[in-house]
Each structure stands twice: as C-alpha cells, then as structure tokens.
C-alpha cells in the first residue's frame, strides 16, 4: 500500500481524488455560530423567566472561585513579607520538628516560601482550608496574626475555617511561618466570603457575574431586531426603486445613500440619544436608518443586474403590468439572498453600538445591566488589578459579535458558491 509522506499519494479508482481541503463552505464555523446564538436565546429566556433571582446581590467584588481564573485575573493578591523573629511576640507557637530533603535552590532561600496559593474566596457554610506546602524549611512554626473569627491553624500548618452566614464580607488574613532560626515569612491575603458560591465572581455592587452576563443577553437580540426591522424594509424600498426605475430617482436615491454613508454614525446616534433621552430602543431605530445605505446599494446593484435579464421582459409581455408585482418578483425571488446575511451583520453591529454607548455612559443605565455597562462600571478596576468584571463581558461580547459575523459571512459564501 502506498505510504503517505511529503508526497501526496492518491489511490484512484475511476479517477477519484481526495482533495478535501479545497472545500471551503464554512459549515463548521456556521454551526459554531449557531450554537452561540442558541445560547443567547437561552439567556434571553432565562432573563424573562427569572429576572429577580438574577439580580440578587451578595458580597461585592468577589473574585471567581476557580484558582486558575484567580491567577489570571487578579494580581498580586498574596503578599509575602519577610519578618524577623523579634517582631513576633505574644502569640502562641506551634511546631513540630521534622526533616526532609530540599533542592539546592530551595536550600538557598533565606525564608520560608509557600508552594501553593490560597483561594481568595469562601462560601458561607462550606469549609475553607489552606495548607502552605513549603518549598524549603520543613521545620517551622505557624502563627495566625490576623484572622476572622473561627479560623484556626494546626501545628502542621493546616489553616481551616468554616464561615457562618453572618460572616459575609472581606477579611484580611495574615499567617506567619517561622523557622526555628532565621527570618520568617508573613503571608497576607484577603478572603471574600459570600453566601452563595459565585463561579465567576461578583461585581462591585454584588451581583453575580454569571447572572450579569445572562442579564446582558437581553440587549443582544431585541435591539438588533429593531434595527433590522427598520433597516431592511428601508433598504429594499430604496434599493429596489433605485435599481428598477433608474433615471432621476436612481441618481437621487444613490446620492441619498452616499449622504447617509458620509455622516458619522456615532454622532447621529448621539444626537438622537440627546433627543430621546438616550432610550436604547430609539437609538437602535436610528442605527437601522444609519446602516441601510450599504444594503440598499447592494440591492440596487442586484436589481440593476437582474433588470437586463430576459425573464423581466417575458413577465412584462405576459401582462404583468403592475410594477409592484414585478418588484416582488425580482426582490423576493432574487434579491433577497443577501438580505439575511445583512440582518446578521446589523445585529452584530447593534451589539457593538450598544456596548460603545454604554461604555460612554450613554446607553443602558441602572438598574439594568448590560455587557457594555459592566465594562463601564468597572473600568477603574484596571488600576486595582481586579479584572474579572471586565474580562468576562469582553469575552461574551467578542463571542456573540463573532457569531453574528460568522453567520453573515457563511451565508455570503454559500450564496457565492451557489452563484446567486
């Protein structure tokens, strides 16, 4: 049997080839995008069903519970400070001498270093524990300098605590790790206790971030739909008339189209916002108006190219004198193919505009939550290095916009392949 190496070997029977990677119809990407859309729809349904539960507030600014996320999105959260023995006084010492092997590098460290980081979140009613497995200095004593009520450390360094429901909040913990000789180490960190576990953390008013993400989905589909409902009929009307009737109407309409495409869209939206007191639905309607030129142009070109076709003349000869029927013929059967793709592009753009407006504090306002608003509220958190309320909305924005664009492009590709 022929081997496959640098050479591509084709075993052909009746001359068949296996050039699979020439295929480019993008179905995989479209499937992924549809999955994301379904998730958005699910989010919308959840919001409708469960809005109050999603808006419950808990401890503010609690980080995510997963330790990898904590490492990624917080910095530096564990403070390690060297303490000399003289500073420590008036505290009971516990310790068990022992011996173990140390790596040469670890043996050179002058004070104890932990190998693990503690978790920065705790849930009321569930145990919280931390054991600083040390890189060096196996014989040490542990002392709790500062701790919330109910926390204790065992002689082997096992820190344990079960917070009660009333203990929700942020606590600072300081644990001293002291070898029998030499300088010790003080580990300080903050633990945020909440009543319920929050997988992605909470934002600065205490809402669960996952709940906020779900709440934000309500602004992804509906405003986009409004923009679409305004934009598509407008562009069909203008583009169809411009393409079909030609002459004066066409020049007039295409100049109108140029006019709209020259006006900075954001400025128009600002002004409309100012008029309507920044109601998001009104701004979406204006967005629809702002976006219709591009699609109108495409439709106009399509209609122009179809006008030359024989079947139009045939239809006219058949007595379809009513121009409107003819328009339906052309528009409905032939020019409608790019319309669906353009719908998705408009919806993607609507999400972007909503995010931008919220970021400028001109969009969604309290008590509603949207992804853009989350980014706006927490933009000062960059300095404090608490990145989780910024990261997750950014990811969801990216995913949903990407999904819409992928769908639009996939549809475009399929139309191109089918030669429409």
């Amino acid at each position: 049997m022929p081997r496959k190496n640098r050479w591509t070997i084709y075993h052909t029977q009746r001359e068949v080839s296996f050039n699979h990677w020439f295929r480019q119809n993008g179905t995989k990407e479209m499937a992924a995008a549809l999955a994301v859309l379904l998730l958005l729809l699910l989010g919308n349904i959840l919001v409708v069903l469960n809005k109050d539960a999603l808006q419950k507030k808990d401890t503010r600014n609690q980080p995510p519970t997963n330790s990898f996320l904590q490492w990624l999105l917080m910095k530096p959260s564990l403070e390690i400070v060297e303490v000399t023995q003289g500073e420590v006084s008036g505290i009971d010492f516990y310790g068990t001498p022992g011996a173990s092997l140390l790596s040469p590098k670890a043996a050179q460290e002058t004070s104890p270093r932990p190998r693990k980081r503690p978790s920065f979140t705790a849930v009321a009613g569930k145990g919280y524990s931390f054991n600083a497995v040390l890189k060096n200095f196996p014989d040490v004593r542990y002392a709790l300098v500062r701790a919330p009520e109910g926390m204790g450390v065992s002689p082997t360094g096992q820190l344990s605590w079960t917070p009660t429901a009333e203990q929700a909040g942020i606590y600072k913990i300081s644990l001293d790790v002291l070898p029998f000789a030499g300088t010790g180490t003080r580990l300080s960190w903050e633990v945020s206790v909440s009543e319920k576990p929050h997988a992605l953390g909470t934002d600065q008013s205490g809402r669960d971030i996952l709940a906020c993400l779900i709440l934000g989905t309500q602004w992804t589909l509906l405003p986009g739909l409004i923009a679409v409902l305004i934009s598509i009929p407008l562009s069909l009307l203008f583009g169809g008339m411009a393409g079909y009737y030609g002459g004066m109407i066409e020049t007039f309409l295409s100049h109108g189209i140029t006019l709209f495409s020259a006006m900075p869209s954001l400025v128009l939206i600002f002004l409309t916002g100012a008029i309507f007191n920044f109601n998001i639905y009104a701004m979406m309607a204006v967005l629809g108006v702002v976006l219709f030129p591009r699609n109108a142009l495409q439709i106009k070109n399509k209609v122009l190219s179809l006008k030359e076709n024989q079947f139009i003349e045939a239809a006219r000869e058949l007595g379809m004198s009513d121009r409107r029927i003819l328009l339906k013929d052309i528009l409905w059967h032939n020019a409608r193919t790019p319309v669906l793709s353009f719908c998705f592009q408009i919806m993607a753009f609507a999400i972007l505009i909503e995010v931008t407006l919220s970021y400028l504090n001109l969009g969604i306002k309290e008590p509603d939550v949207s992804w853009g608003k989350m980014i706006f509220d927490h933009r000062s958190m960059i300095q404090e290095q608490k990145l989780w309320p910024l990261f997750f909305p950014a990811v969801t924005i990216f995913l949903s916009v990407a999904a819409f664009y992928l769908l639009a492009d996939g549809l475009n590709k399929r139309n191109k392949i089918r030669g429409v």
Binding site: R6, T8, I9, Y10, T12, R14, E15, V16, S17, F18
Partner: protein, 360 residues
C-alpha cells in the same frame, strides 16, 4: 531526437497535465510529444477542450490554478528544462487503478526557475484575446518600455526606445504610430491590439513564437491581414512557429507539420498540406470528421458535439464514442477499440496516427 542532426528548438516528451476537480481527475494533457525545428512551423489543431491551450501553458509554466499533476520532459535548444523533475511526478496504471504521485508545488517552483530565462527571450507567446491581454492601466508606450526594460534586466533605457521599437512598428504597418503609442489598450481595435501583442512578443528577439489562436477573435478581413503579417515577419526573421488553432484552413496555410489533438492526446501528426488540403491524406477518423465539418458537412452527432467530459473513463480509445469508423466495423474488431488505447504509430516518413484501424 534530432533529425538531420539539428537540435530542435522545442522538444516536448510525454507532457501530462492533470487537474483535480471535485473528486474527478481531468486529464487535460495526456502524454503529448512533439518537437519544433529551427525555422520549422508546427501547428496544433483540435476542437475546443482538447487541451491545446493547456499544452502550451504548461510548457511556458503559466498554468493559472495549480494543476493536480504535471509531468513530462521538455527540452529547449537541447537543454533539458525539466532537469531534476523526473521523480516529482509519476503516473502508473495497474489493474485498472491509477496511482498518481506528485509534489506539484515543488515541480512548479523548480520549473518556473528553469523556464524563466527563456520566457520572452527564446520562447514568446501571443494570446487569444488581444484586447484583454494587454494591461488596461498603462499606455502602449509605457507597456513597451516596461517589457524592454525587463528584457534588459531592469536597466534604464537611455533613449534606446526609439531605435529598438520604431523599426518594429514600421514593420507591423501601423497607420498612425504616435497616436497608438499614447493610447490605452481599450481604445484600440482588435487587429491593432493583436499587432501590439506581436510587437511585445518580438521585442525579445525570440527563436520560437507560440501563437495561441491569435486570430480567433478577429473578423475575417483583419484575420487575413494579421495572418499575412505573421507569415512575412516569421519568414523575414527566420523564426519558428508553434501555431494553435481550430481553424484548419489557417493551419494548413501557415504551418509545415500539424498535430491533431483530441481530448488531451495527439491522434494524428503529419505534414499539414497533405493532411488537410488533400482530404485523402488523413488517416484518423477524427481528422476526417474535422475536415468534413470544415468543408461544410456535418460532424458526428453522437454526443451532440458537446465539449468532451475529459474526465470520463480512460479505458480504450478516447474517440470511440464518436468514431464513425468504429460504428461501421464488426463488433469483434471494435472490441479492440474499447479495450486498448491506441498508440501513435508511424505509417510513413512524416506521418503518425493513433488508431487501430487506420488502414480503412
């Protein structure tokens, strides 16, 4: 293979160009061999889709989309252009299966490197649609200058334009050269554009001119003038010619030897005048069909004359479905046509035919 001891300018041996298209193998060029002597003129004739254009494009290294496979040996003036490429492509047929091994990207890369010095200088080409073969963005003068400077390896022309180009222009019989020079290609007529293409091709003083259906797009009168121009220039400069056309009369008028191609294979090769003008000279049924149509008869309506599905099964003679001769033969004899693909056999001094029943 030199006859009379002279090295042929272009010698092609067993050229194959296959394309893969949606699970089908299309054998555009399937084992073509021919040669063009210095001063000689070779024609390639056949219907549309027979692979004529692909042959010369493969020779010049100008295939547009990457082929599935190219193989063959090409010699220019005795130098083997396909040196080192023999192992990169191989086609074997065993037990009815076809094994194609290839590394086309490497083949094309190396071949491009080898043929680049010859393009424009030893071999130059004139294309089918003259008006769209000229770049629409620059004037004629600028395009001529561009070609000249690339021929001189990018060094600047110091006023040499006039000396080098104007005599050519005179020779090509343009009516008002100044106007043409400052015009854009879309402002010229078909005949003028074709002559500009000829001028561009001749700038490098090539030894072989390849003409791919240069007159097909022109009207009859312009065709006549252009063909005469070709003839006189070729004679004057003693250039060889490789002429591709589906117009048999033109081929007979211009060339010495003609290859008739059908679906990627040469089915007959021989002296043009004997084959075409005197109808009895042709031995292959396809040639006879072509001549029949040309002289006002009707061809075989078997397949309705549709462009051959070049990828269909490869068993037996490729012409069998349209072959008038096979239809008239006994089934026993016809079986040989179905099972074995005929090879190109020599039946007289300059005449090769690929048919099992050429005697009839």
């Amino acid at each position: 293979m030199d006859t009379n001891g002279k090295t042929p300018i272009l010698q092609v041996q067993d050229l194959k160009t296959y394309y893969f298209k949606e699970h089908e193998l299309i054998r555009c060029v399937d084992g073509i061999s021919f040669e063009v002597m210095p001063g000689g003129r070779m024609g390639i004739a056949g219907e549309s889709g027979s692979g004529k254009t692909q042959t010369v494009l493969s020779i010049m290294g100008l295939n547009e989309s990457t082929p599935g496979m190219i193989s063959g040996e090409i010699h220019i003036n005795g130098n083997q252009i396909t040196d080192g490429l023999q192992n990169l492509s191989r086609v074997e047929e065993r037990d009815g299966h076809i094994f194609v091994t290839k590394d086309v990207a490497a083949w094309q890369r190396i071949y491009e490197r080898n043929i680049k010095p010859h393009r424009g200088k030893t071999l130059s080409m004139v294309f089918q649609e003259p008006r769209s073969s000229l770049s629409p963005y620059f004037t004629i003068r600028e395009q001529l200058e561009e070609t000249l400077s690339s021929l001189l390896n990018g060094s600047r022309l110091n006023g040499g334009f006039e000396q080098l180009v104007m005599p050519l222009f005179e020779r090509l019989k343009f009516r008002n050269s100044k106007q043409i020079l400052s015009a854009y290609p879309h402002q010229l007529s078909g005949g003028e554009s074709q002559r500009i293409m000829l001028a561009l091709a001749l700038l490098g003083e090539p030894q072989l001119l390849i003409a791919d259906e240069p007159t097909t797009q022109l009207d009859a009168l312009t065709q006549f003038h252009v063909v005469n121009l070709f003839d006189s220039i070729l004679r004057e400069k003693q250039l060889s010619l490789l002429f591709i056309s589906h117009n048999l009369a033109l081929v007979a008028h211009l060339v010495d030897t003609v290859c008739i191609m059908y679906r990627g294979r040469i089915v007959e090769k021989g002296p043009a005048k004997a084959l075409i003008t005197s109808g009895s000279g042709s031995a292959h049924p396809y040639t006879r069909e072509l001549l029949n149509v040309f002289n006002g008869g009707r061809g075989q309506n078997r397949n309705g004359g549709y462009i051959s599905n070049a990828g269909a099964s490869s068993k037996g003679c490729r012409y069998q479905h349209r072959c008038d001769l096979k239809r008239r033969l006994d089934p026993g004899l016809g079986r040989r046509c179905e099972n074995e693909s005929p090879s190109l056999d020599k039946i007289s001094k300059d005449h090769w035919v690929a048919c099992w029943h050429k005697e009839r």
